[in-house]
Symmetry: C7
Subunit: 94 residues, 7 copies
């Protein structure tokens, strides 16, 4: 298991359905990276100046939209994840 530190969140990036033509999957080189992902782990928050921890705005299971090009891709146990700072998550998809 990966336990994110500080205000980091671990995301499982959802693969968007690709357009197909006659059953043939089009692997477009120009296809944009998906921006939607599922939260699989949440850090405890950053330690603030007053010693308390910053509240985390998302919870495990949330579907979220995140800033493009933010976060770090990691491979763990055969799967790929994105470790991202909470501030780079833009919105929850409800």
């Amino acid at each position: 298991m990966l336990k994110p530190l500080g205000d980091r969140v671990i995301l499982e990036v959802t693969q968007e359905e690709e357009k197909t033509v006659g059953g043939l999957v089009l692997a477009s080189a120009a296809k944009e990276k998906p921006q939607t992902a599922k939260v699989v782990a949440v850090g405890e928050g950053n330690v603030l100046e007053n010693g308390q921890k910053s509240p985390m705005p998302v919870a495990v299971g949330d579907m979220v939209m995140f800033e493009k090009y933010s976060g770090t891709e990691v491979k763990y146990d055969g799967s790929e994840y994105l470790i991202i700072a909470a501030k780079d998550i833009m919105a929850i998809v409800e």
Copy 2:
């Protein structure tokens, strides 16, 4: 539904009327991006050092002007939105 986090605001960008010549819409490559948009969702504000949340200066339904090149364009449920930080909204059009 998209729920913006922190001090983010979700805007629905209003398409400006395009000039037409004899009913033909001119799709000008040089046409500037519109800067006016309608607020469709407002975050709860950033958490300040004292634990309170920053007040949000706009409300759902407001027409606003925003800084060029700010925000992130997202696609949700077939529509396009702009997710933008409240500080990048310059003015309310009343």
Copy 3:
């Protein structure tokens, strides 16, 4: 009407008189942008850490000088304005 947010100010840029030669207006490409403008709207100020708002140093009707290349030009109701942060206004012309 445009209502500026935060510490923004809306300026109506005063056109400087152009030099004319025998009644012919010289539209010089090299003519510098005017730096003097009239204040037409003033924001309520930024929210400070203590919850109060920053005092605004100018009032509607003031003639001001501003930093070159600061602010954002917007078009509203057929007129052009400059939306600028209060800190980029250098002086009041009294």
Copy 4:
């Protein structure tokens, strides 16, 4: 009259005497910009976090040395001035 805002100061840049050869003034292209100037107006200081204003280190009439390339040149009422932040004034020439 120009009233500087915040911690700005308005300087009247003193022209350094130019070297002459036999009464002929040498207008050297390479002549360095003068760094000495006379204070003609002083702002009220920046508003600090505690609501008070920052003290201004110079007074009208002071001769000062300032950092090269700092400040903004403005023209007002036929004269040229330099509007500069107080922190960019290095020393008072007593």
Copy 5:
């Protein structure tokens, strides 16, 4: 022994198993640097404004994932280590 200062952590980078073909180790030039490491020493934390020290989020023996290109490689007593700031450790591998 190396005693890290401030919020630094000393890591022993775990060599990932290399793919072999018929017993021949493939020394791929393109092989990515490993991102997983073992904590071998932990600093006492940075001194905060209130005189206390920042808590350290990892302990000796933890397996961690760290930001690529962060930290400084050092050689000590014949072994290689990475000295890294605690904030650049992304997650604990449990």
Copy 6:
């Protein structure tokens, strides 16, 4: 006299003895700039957030070493000086 403002210090840069060959002074183009200087004036310190002034770490008459390329060279009354921020003075030569 030059009175430095804020945490500025005025230095009189000591010329290092140049190597001579048979009495001929070698004006080496590659000669490094001297880093040692004598303090000739000291500012009152920066105003801190609590209204007090920052203590100045050097006194008139001190010989000091300073960061290369820091400070501004000025000419005053026929002599050359360096006006430098106190933080750019590295050490006192005792």
Copy 7:
């Protein structure tokens, strides 16, 4: 004697033993700069906002490892030293 100011530390860089082949010292152009040094003087610490001084993490006589390319090389009394900020010292070699 050199007395470092603020949180600066003066280091005497230890020359690493060079590899020799049959007694011949190999002066490798590619040899990395040594990262280990001996502390010979320690500043009193920076003045913090509360008026106290920051504690210094090293003492005279400590062997330390420091960040590459940090600090300023100075020559004093025929010897070469490195003046470095305490924050750029990574670890004490015990």
